[in-house]
Point group: C2
Chain length 460, copies 2
């Protein structure tokens, strides 16, 4: 059994467990009350806030505890936008933000605001210059993650913060993926994070609003958490969250180096072990424990299922693993292959043996899934003469349209085209990605009777 | 040491503690994931939902877990109002709702909606007829607590639900104070509750939306909890919440009878033990463990402090114990005395000895606080002839204005008046309440140079 999905949730850190159990007796009362049980709870809450603020690198009165990282983002975006209403209603986000940021942006747009999505390169990284170009006179807020949750790419937060600061625009940083590893550098104005991503309990997020940043909490409030997070404080969990953040940080430098070496093994060896794989994300500027790759001609859900049977818990951005049957917006924004996508994110403490076992198991697992799907064997296709071809893959889901394309590309002459008909959204991402990987020319798409026609020209 | 503030928070039930610890190992992963750790978390979440739904008396798919009772109320009110937008924007609440309901109503009003507050009688109870009278063609939603959090009075929820149903208006019930004791009867449409009020952990609330009730979640959402409560589920705590609700219910009937007898002792004996006390709230239709009284000529904060020193943790609705220096809106709506207010709410399991000790300690504690304030000794004042009197109590806080009034009422003849000048908001409530308790005539108030002049006519 190896749980390799730390980017989703990290098992409870032993310090979190101890702190939680120790504070169940002292931390259940209302910290707003003046009697002894309330005062004890208040002491715990104050100490937790100080510890968390020190780890973030902010003042304790700049930090409030929220019920989750998602709620921290929602409250942070709404409050910052409302606080800057006079400046305007323009919001900037990167195209690869966590869904909580994108959902907040959708609500802002539905309420009459405008949103600019800053694109990323093929590694998933934004350019500070792109934020500079997106800034307008009416920009109220910009948002940028510290590192991407799906591919691990680190973002140039300090540079973007500087660009924003020069324009007088606050930057909100979603630090959910990186706070365990260190403080977020640069002159950001707001920060959100989530305890269960660093080994703390669920039910606790952080929202930091720097002094001087305009902020007007939205929705009904109360007197708790500076009016920024209504509802009874989730106290024993808050204590556990702060204690575990401190503990995780104490181990961060050594553990980061160790995990980085382990993920480097995966980055380096998966393409050698498994044919037709694209490792995605920035190879250098990345989270220590996260590595993501996509396998051509593979059904992501089937692969996850087989890996689970083999004892490995990983996640995927493939369309077939999402409830909407859409590929991950992150992979889409990067323009990389989404089929057969696997994210491996190592929790601190992952033994090297787990990674080695994963590397042993993966090739056979991928091969088995491919075989079941009738995927083409690499370099098998023999060029024949003949005109252009049409492949009708309508009604078939990822990765079938790409498999069908790969099967026939050898049947058209160099210069000839294959027209793939598909009504699967993943094809829009994966057919161009396949062309990129295979060195074929992606000509474009056009509406067809059913779905869309994707045109590919054979060039080699 | 006796913690007697269950209405604020109940210490963790042993079953909650066990369930929490047991599920820390199984319940940390993302229940939306398909691998084994996610499936285990999902099983725990599903089981918790079924247990909670059974305790509420609803279908599991009608119930979602929220981060707190406050958030359940906020989301419930906003979603129900939005779901009924076509019907109109009129909202009905009782005047004695929990602040979370009133804050939601304020936000609704600020957004252009209209709100009617249904008044209560001197026991804090609404009349179903008053809800009927408040209903309009454009009423989108009505809210009513199952029982009051400050004075324990039970509300006629079933009757009000019937009145609302006849008008086609959904009723949202804030069941935070009563859910430990039993299901909420009647044809309500939405229900909110809070786990830490029944001995569950903090960080968990319930929101129930009956099938057929229109509901449109507001704000950014995600795919969790039927789109009604975004953010990673607070899972071990949810398991503990559901398990403890079931456990508390198993003990409810016996414990309710026992606590009711204990609070009856306080209701009966405090007025005999302490002069100039008003016991407030419905004497019969009330929560088993809650009893509230107000002491004339007493500073609530000083009394709480002295009781805390004596080992009793209670709360108060007196103005001096609130950050706003305003008396509790509940006591105000009831028109009862707010000074020297004490709420005693017994957690399940409170030993009879704690109540007896409280009754032993209370009289001396009240007397000491009164003595320090120079409060008049009952029936000491000797009538004298003379005209009307003016007492300038500006700049003095509750309970001083009432003390000054009581000191001089004997100095004016029957038929004469005392004019009390005060700039303390509590005087507006407490001077009429004093007149009611003392059988004097409260003539009314008028603006004065500083603050307000309250006119009292001596009639006995």
């Amino acid at each position: 059994m190896a749980y390799l999905d730390a980017a989703s949730a990290v098992p409870l850190h032993p310090v979190a467990r101890q702190a939680l159990q120790a504070s169940l007796d002292e931390g259940w009362a209302d910290p707003a009350r003046l009697y002894r049980e309330g005062r004890r709870a208040r002491l715990l809450l104050d100490a937790a806030r100080e510890a968390a603020a020190e780890a973030v690198g902010c003042r304790p009165d700049e930090l409030v505890f929220t019920p989750s990282g998602t709620r921290a983002v929602h409250s942070g975006v709404a409050g910052a936008l409302a606080g800057r209403r006079r400046a305007g209603t323009h919001l900037i986000v990167s195209a690869v933000e966590h869904s909580s940021v994108l959902h907040a942006a959708e609500v802002h747009e539905a309420g009459g605001g405008t949103v600019t999505q800053v694109p990323v390169d093929r590694t998933g990284r934004v350019e500070a210059a792109a934020y500079a170009a997106a800034l307008r006179g009416d920009t109220a807020l910009a948002c940028l993650q510290s590192a991407n949750h799906e591919v691990g790419t680190e973002q140039p937060v300090a540079e973007v913060a500087e660009v924003c600061r020069a324009a007088g625009v606050p930057l909100l940083v979603d630090a959910a993926q990186s706070l365990a590893w260190g403080k977020v550098a640069g002159g950001w104005s707001l920060l959100a994070a989530s305890a269960h991503k660093w080994g703390g309990p669920s039910g606790v997020g952080l929202l930091v609003v720097r002094k001087g940043a305009r902020f007007a909490p939205q929705g009904p409030g109360d007197e708790r958490e500076s009016g920024r997070a209504p509802g009874f404080e989730n106290l024993p969990a808050i204590v556990a969250a702060a204690a575990s953040l401190r503990a995780v940080r104490a181990e961060a430098a050594g553990e980061a180096a160790r995990l980085r070496e382990l993920t480097e093994r995966i980055r380096a060896r998966v393409p050698a072990l498994v044919p037709d794989v694209e490792v995605v994300g920035d190879p250098v500027r990345r989270l220590p424990g996260t590595v993501t790759f996509s396998c051509l001609y593979v059904d992501g859900e089937a692969l996850l299922h087989e890996l689970d049977r083999a004892g490995f818990s990983v996640s995927s951005g493939s369309s077939c693993t999402s409830s909407t049957l859409l590929p991950s917006h992150v992979l889409k924004a990067m323009g990389v292959l989404s089929e057969g996508n696997v994210r491996v994110s190592l929790p601190p403490g992952t033994p090297a043996g787990d990674v080695e076992r994963f590397l042993e198991v993966l090739p056979g697992t991928v091969a088995a899934v491919r075989e079941r799907l009738g995927a083409p064997v690499a370099a098998e296709a023999v060029p024949r003469t003949g005109g252009d071809l049409v492949v009708d893959a309508t009604g078939r889901r990822c990765p079938v349209p790409v498999i069908e394309l790969a099967k026939v590309i050898g049947d058209v002459p160099v210069g000839g085209t294959v027209r793939v008909l598909s009504d699967d959204e993943a094809a829009r991402l994966d057919i161009p990605a396949w062309c990129e990987m295979r060195g074929q020319e992606y000509v474009g798409e056009e509406p067809a009777d059913r779905g869309t026609a994707y045109l590919v020209r054979r060039v080699s």
